[in-house]
């Protein structure tokens, strides 16, 4: 039943974001490839793909921030927290369902648009290697996980329906404008490729799983913290 609630609560936001992102990204790739003649070098195709990734990343970060809105603290503002908390369910379980649903939705919002972009690319010229697509997906998921965790933790700490996502968005922007010296920590730079992409926008080595694991751990810590914070809170 908790899944039912989370779905009803987020389905509008999720579906609109998903459809919008998929359509825009697919169009960007298709149009980019189409407007170029067939004699352009393959690197140009990858440039198109890279711009698709950039577009997706920006939209994805916005969408995820909006999706993580809600939760018990925001219910306190709308007044339904009393009803939810009186249900015979532990707070941890409520959070876990919300988190799992949020992670699944976030993942779908990477996979579906990328599938569409790959298809768009496939139908408008020579296909790109699946490895490259996978590389981009991992970059976005790895770095992005940190932002998902941040948004969840903020929503457990900050009251106010719009204050929480605004702070999360602020953090994203701060990461986007952080000094270059911190680039190797910055998940935003990771999404952008950092030193893993060569000048031709192709990966210059294997997928940096170590780094991904590090970011995933940070995300996991943030998520666990968001649950613990909520468990201790007085409502």
């Amino acid at each position: 039943m908790l899944w039912y609630k989370v779905w009803l609560e987020t389905r509008a936001r999720f579906l609109i974001s998903l459809v919008g992102m998929t359509a825009l990204c697919a169009y960007r790739v298709y149009d980019g490839n189409h407007s170029a003649s067939s004699s352009i070098p393959i690197s140009y195709r990858y440039f198109i793909l890279h711009s698709g990734q950039q577009l997706l990343s920006v939209m994805w970060l916005v969408a995820v921030t909006l999706l993580m809105m809600g939760g018990l603290l925001q219910e306190k503002v709308t007044g339904s927290a009393s009803f939810t908390l009186a249900l015979p369910v532990s707070r941890a379980r409520m959070m876990k369902v919300r988190i799992c649903a949020g992670l699944m939705q976030s993942a779908l919002m990477i996979v579906v648009p990328w599938t569409a972009m790959y298809a768009a690319s496939y139908f408008s010229g020579p296909a790109h290697s699946l490895d490259q697509v996978l590389f981009y997906v991992v970059l976005l998921a790895g770095g992005g996980a940190v932002f998902v965790g941040t948004a969840l933790l903020i929503s457990s700490l900050v009251e106010g329906t719009y204050t929480a996502p605004m702070i999360s968005a602020g953090i994203v922007l701060a990461c986007g404008n952080a000094p270059k010296s911190l680039a190797f920590l910055n998940p935003m730079d990771f999404i952008g490729g950092r030193d893993y992409l060569g000048p031709d926008n192709l990966s210059n080595g294997p997928i940096p799983w170590g780094h991904v694991a590090a970011y995933m751990s940070v995300a996991a810590l943030l998520i666990v913290a968001s649950v613990k914070v909520l468990e201790r809170r007085d409502f």
Binding site: M1, K5, S82, F83
Partner: protein, 302 residues
Amino acid sequence: MSSPTVIETMGLSKLYGRSHAVRNLNLTVRPNRITAFLGLNGAGKSTTIRMLLGMIMPSEGSGTVLGRRIDDPAESVALRRDVAYVSEDKRLYNYMTVEQMIRFTSGFVPGWREDVATALLRRYELPAGRKVRHLSKGMHTKLALLLAIARSPALLILDEPSEGLDPRGVEQLLETLVAQCAEGTSIFFSSHQIEEVERISDQVCVIHHGRLVMDAALDELRESWRRVDVVLPGGAHVGDFEMQGVERVHTRGKQMSVVASGNVDAIITRASESGATAIDVTPVGLREIFLQTIDLDTSGEN
């Protein structure tokens, strides 16, 4: 105490900074009756209820609801299976329809009574397909009540249940509560509506500044509290009437009004010994008993 209790608190306290919202509360609520919880705004009623349901952690002390500890997270979840709560704001999920709210809530409660839900849906005239955000305040309250009652709980806790209801809605609410109690549900409700409390309650608990100041059967209060109006031609002296049972003495010239919670015949004796030419004994309503208990001067003179 060997007899069962539905709610029992032992030294329950909640501190916010340096002030006690609830102080050393020893509340006992017995099963199969309707217990009213009275108190001024900010007296600690809502805080107490929230501690009972695990929404707020007590600072000190402990409590049980239906025999399960309120400060243990696992037991708190277990007790909430058998306790239905209607909060003061009664707000539900704006994005769900009436029907969806019913389906959602029923999923958590094995003892859900679909027949009761359907009957109440009809009786309260609630539109099944309408979203909660488009319900009027009265309908909102009725839906919240429906969701609590169709759970067929062992204990029903309500915080200001009649707020936002029109007179017909209030009547329906009181009938529903009484019917639920007859089915075996224990009812614990806080209210500012003294008339409603007087109509249906068996027991009255009063909380003031976080402390329990009264816990009595309403019938006993009706039997024992009296106002004795006395005319003393020799002048009325407050000091003469400082005796057990006297709650407040009020004089004006040769007239004296004594509000007593008991020992009334001794007061009458004292009055006639003092040479009273008229002694009138009248009952005292719950509103005055409540105000007197929390030490408010109802007529301003003393």
